[in-house]
């Protein structure tokens, strides 16, 4: 029988620990969940038995979360770590990431996007094989995933990547790739060398807006070219390639959802041409079925009214706004928070849909 993974949650708020326990008990892999109320007790627990994942609050008396994470990084390098905090300060976020945490979540976001949070945690619990590859810092992702995330989020940062004695840097400004350097090599050649690394550690450093730009091509074009050349040179088994592609697609789509601020996305292909997919919603099956039926009802309506081709469907309630549109015969239903106007949401939906299969 497969051993259940163990998750340790540390927070000085007993009520919050109960919330976490209840939420994490919904994880499909049914991990064993332990909770402690102080940083010192968390370290003692980690010393006494192996855990797969640590969920750590930042603001705690005596030993705070950053101290706990600092100790964990040194003593338990394989332990996955997630920060759960109410502190909406960017400085804490960057300090936590510089300590090698895999994820940083605000408690309010976690409660609003429970499904996405649980998907991320489940992904962190992941497969055993994930442990031996990837970059410490944000889950066990490839460097390509990390750079895609930074660029897609329009971040400005300098990624410092170390692999044994090798040190490399990648400069990103407003989501654009400026430069890369490893040893004496710079530009695209350096970027290609760095992306061939399969493991290492990385940290986000302060952006350097004035840094000289040596890379002119778009990040997507470069990543595509490099991914192809890596695939050709390593020739991994076909199933492994498919798994990697699936993983990358999952990360990309979850990041897209988070970056654009959408609540969920459902895609429905034409009958008999692939399966529907849902991201960020609990009742995927029902929403998918409704998407299909609503599209059929609207098609009948359009035929009856002879009103020309369908452009899009928008719907709204107090809770959310929905935009449904068709792209390449595939239906996309995207749910958004209610603040934005329909026109704005339509543009955002088109943008998200256009990037969906990137």
């Amino acid at each position: 029988m497969e051993e259940r993974h163990k998750i340790l949650v540390v927070d000085d708020d007993a009520d919050w620990l109960d919330v976490c326990r209840e939420m994490l008990s919904q994880l499909p892999s049914k991990p064993e969940i332990r909770t402690v109320g102080a940083g010192a007790r968390a370290i003692a627990q980690l010393d006494s038995q192996p855990f797969r994942l640590l969920l750590c609050d930042l603001k705690m008396p005596k030993m705070d979360g950053l101290q706990v994470l600092s100790i964990v990084r040194r003593r338990f390098p394989d332990l996955r770590t997630v920060v759960l905090t109410s502190l909406e300060d960017e400085e804490f976020r960057s300090r936590a990431y510089s300590l090698g945490v895999d994820l940083f979540w605000l408690k309010s976001d976690m409660q609003q996007n429970t499904k996405m949070f649980l998907d991320c945690v489940e992904s962190l619990l992941g497969r055993e094989t994930d442990l031996n590859s990837g970059f410490r810092g944000v889950q066990s992702k490839s460097l390509m995933d990390i750079i895609q995330l930074e660029c897609m989020s329009r971040n400005s940062t300098v990624l410092r990547i170390t692999r044994g004695p090798l040190v490399a840097k990648i400069w990103i400004q407003d989501g654009e790739l400026l430069d890369a350097q490893v040893g004496n090599v710079r530009g695209e050649a350096a970027f290609q060398k760095i992306l061939a690394w399969k493991s290492g550690t990385f940290e986000n450093m302060a952006a350097e807006p004035g840094h000289e730009r040596t890379i002119q091509r778009s990040i997507n074009a470069l990543l595509l070219e490099i991914a192809q050349s890596i695939d050709e040179s390593t020739e991994p088994a076909q199933t492994e390639m498919i798994e990697k592609a699936d993983h990358r697609r999952t990360v990309w789509r979850l990041a897209l959802l988070a970056a654009e601020g959408a609540e969920f996305v459902v895609t429905v292909p034409p009958d008999g041409q692939g399966k529907s997919e849902a991201w960020g919603t609990h009742n995927a099956e029902q929403v998918t079925a409704w998407t299909r039926r609503a599209a059929e009802a609207v098609k009948r309506l359009g035929d009856r009214l002879e009103a020309g081709p369908l452009s899009f469907i928008a719907g709204g309630s107090m809770e959310r706004r929905l935009i449904m549109l068709n792209r390449d015969d595939k239906l996309f239903l995207v749910a958004w928070p209610t603040e934005a106007a329909e026109n704005e949401l339509l543009e955002k939906t088109k943008k998200l849909v256009a990037s969906w299969d990137s």
Binding site: A297, L305, A307, F312, A314
Partner: protein
Amino acid sequence: MGSITVNAQGNIIASTVSSNYSKSLLGDISREVLVIFREARDAQLPLAEVNVHFGSLRVTARETRGGAIIFLMPQTALLPSPK
């Protein structure tokens, strides 16, 4: 172009749409709109309003106690369009 008010059973209570639109056509429109609202509720996606944008026509429907008010509006180049 006008509006139709329908009750929860799909019966047309009031209409300001031109008589060029037959009763059966208006009945079909009402039924499809109510289907969209009802099935959205069943899928735990309750909707208060639906806008369907066709090339030459926009159908806006607002739910009212199980029924709906449905507005039919032409889409022309002179009207503001979300495109």
